[in-house]
Subunit: 259 residues, 4 copies
Amino acid sequence: MEFEIMEKIFIEYSSEPDLNDPILIEGLPGVGNVGKLAAEHLIDKLDAVKFADIYSKFFPPQVLVGNDGVVRLVSNELYYYKAKESEQRDLLFLVGDYQGLTPEGQYEISIKILEIAEKFNVKKIFTLGGYGLGRMVETARVLGAATSAELVKEMKDHGVVFQEGEPGSGIVGASGLLLGIGQLKDMEGVCLMGETSGYFVDPKSAQAVLEILTKILKVDIDFKELETKASQIDKITSQLRDIEAKGAETTPDDLHYIG
Amino acid sequence: MEFEIMEKIFIEYSSEPDLNDPILIEGLPGVGNVGKLAAEHLIDKLDAVKFADIYSKFFPPQVLVGNDGVVRLVSNELYYYKAKESEQRDLLFLVGDYQGLTPEGQYEISIKILEIAEKFNVKKIFTLGGYGLGRMVETARVLGAATSAELVKEMKDHGVVFQEGEPGSGIVGASGLLLGIGQLKDMEGVCLMGETSGYFVDPKSAQAVLEILTKILKVDIDFKELETKASQIDKITSQLRDIEAKGAETTPDDLHYIG
Amino acid sequence: MEFEIMEKIFIEYSSEPDLNDPILIEGLPGVGNVGKLAAEHLIDKLDAVKFADIYSKFFPPQVLVGNDGVVRLVSNELYYYKAKESEQRDLLFLVGDYQGLTPEGQYEISIKILEIAEKFNVKKIFTLGGYGLGRMVETARVLGAATSAELVKEMKDHGVVFQEGEPGSGIVGASGLLLGIGQLKDMEGVCLMGETSGYFVDPKSAQAVLEILTKILKVDIDFKELETKASQIDKITSQLRDIEAKGAETTPDDLHYIG
Amino acid sequence: MEFEIMEKIFIEYSSEPDLNDPILIEGLPGVGNVGKLAAEHLIDKLDAVKFADIYSKFFPPQVLVGNDGVVRLVSNELYYYKAKESEQRDLLFLVGDYQGLTPEGQYEISIKILEIAEKFNVKKIFTLGGYGLGRMVETARVLGAATSAELVKEMKDHGVVFQEGEPGSGIVGASGLLLGIGQLKDMEGVCLMGETSGYFVDPKSAQAVLEILTKILKVDIDFKELETKASQIDKITSQLRDIEAKGAETTPDDLHYIG
């Protein structure tokens, strides 16, 4: 085995990619699963390659069961993408089943990820997430926060919205910590937050985030699967509105599990 | 003393059995106590021998008091069974009063158990549990999950049910972790889950699990005590239904403590 | 300083008594504060001498403020009593403001106490506590649990009640752990539990425990202060009954704080 | 980097001031944010200089976002003030976004702060906080607690109120621990607690605390900003009373965020 199983975080590498100044992109579960949907869609469309599994005592003590009945321990995963055109950059993706369950676990995992990032010479980070509004969203804007005023300006030029006092409660979890601790390690970073109701998974918001991010990264992808998922959600939520209108008390319980 | 008491998990061995490629069987408390009832019944019928007590700071800070007034610290226990016929395999049992209280404790204990298992050269694991349906169960099926597609196929031949999307939330606790971490250590494993209401301890479900497991293990046992317990439970639950039918609010409070 | 402040438990000794095979007596806060009241009363009546303060990160992050406005960090304390008559034994007392807040803290503190006890050559332990009945108690019996059948028999001769299936949930906290872990270190021990409602502090129950314990220890004390506290409590609870009888909703809020 | 990022508490120094027997003044978030408001106002008025950021795994896993869209990891901060007149003393301030989230975190952080304080040769500590009364307060008195009877007497001469049995529950958090652990390190200390309703941030109570503290420290500051904040709060609370009088159910939701 290539990992020390008694550590709080143990990493199993299937390969050690040779990357050139890659950009780290994080999309873990969170509000509306916006970040996770966005990062996984990007990984899928770019045919990014998985090269490491991250297990941790800070994750739930749980295995997931695939449709084939085969189990796997809950994990985070690292993928890489090698630039195919001169204007692109190599990419390093962090996605997974869960974030750390405790504040200490959140810190430990983010610090570990940044140590790996340092080994790959990462100097720039994008963290992706949702910004819960507590109400239905017609057109999702993409809010931002960044590690420097220069980056804020640059992101505004890409259509990212910076609104004074938003998000008022700061950014909690990996999307915040990777930037905040990265900053202490002289990495620059941006958090892109797609507006979302926060009531269910939101592929539309993920698409809004990706439309901006792919322009920044100069990669070209289609959004078909996200659009399909979005119309499934739309269908369910309109059913929901009908049900509410009729005063019924039941909820379509598959609503939270798409995505 | 044969253990280091300041460790988070301390193990006291009463003997060191000489086992030949044993199969590890786990049955700790959980949904309907199905796994615990099944493993303890099997230990009892096979006259398996206790050889180690496992104490841990991850268990509740508690002693149990026997009917004779004598206390003992809460623990997990290891038993072994030496094969008596050529078609049988040596067995190593893990049973106990509690599972670890925290996610970290769950991981630490499962990792420690697997380290012990490795010393005994364990390559195969069965974890036993209940699958809560939230409704009364007439005939308990036995659902499965396994560490490989080959094992899934093998288990189907033994009557284990693999149903797409079940269990949707994965397998939480020792029954999941021993498989998931075991997998990383190249051990193969199966989780057998007896369907159960989840409302009370369920000896019938434990019997359903054992009927399959004993065939796989090629051991022959009777189920009398489980059947007796099951009819006690049936009696109480039918009283319960009567009480509910009459609209009374009291509950026979011994219901949860049988088994 | 005589302690290492970065440890999870740090002990400050004011003296190092020379004790001869002392008996350890524990009385920390718990159900009805029975154990704490009993041990503190005994310390007071025997003029036992404080020789150590125990501080811990497992206690609440809190100072208490004395009537003179002076603060002190919450702690546990060790006292000793040197036998004054040939039939008596030296005694070592553990009392304090709090028990450990977490299961792990409970284990760590009990293990540390037993390590200290070992240095003083302790071979016998009495832990004192309350046994909550959830109803008013006329005459408090003293229930017991012990580390061996011989001790159970011996305690029965002293009037301690051993009742099958009681306490059904075992003994939680320091009163349980000191016996359970002590057992692993070949110390023998008894838990004496005074019956109590569990609704408020119970000096009567503490007195019932002490009447048995002082006979075992062959020390002779009076119970005046406990009787005074008990009559204060009686007065308040009878007011409470009056108030309830009148249907009022207010509660004399000093009820929980006597003792 | 000047800090070891894998430690539970990591400190980044921007300078190492040369201080002469400084007094440590703590004002972290707490009841009514009285301590935080008071310490930050004093820092502002004295032009105290920030020289260290304290990050910790015991804080929430969170970045805050400034009005310019730039993030920073949540932290505590150290400031210093060099005495400008012969009757003054050098000052060392501890302020910040959060206190430690867990009891263990509270202990670890307070111990770390005191280790830093020892390096600067701190021998005296003032901790500032609010004393929640659960009712509106017309004129806030300043209650005290101290590490010795001499200090209690000294503080009474400065108008600090010491009232038997108050605070009955002791002092929880950094304001308590810094005194209680400091006491074990032979540092003397005082906690000044401004009376406050506990319902919202209370600049008036902070001013009451500062009026006493500045006399003790022999520094002269004005209270304009606190008075302005106080009148904003007054306005909102009187609106609140109007709303309540009319039976409405809405709450001005900016109430908790001033200060």
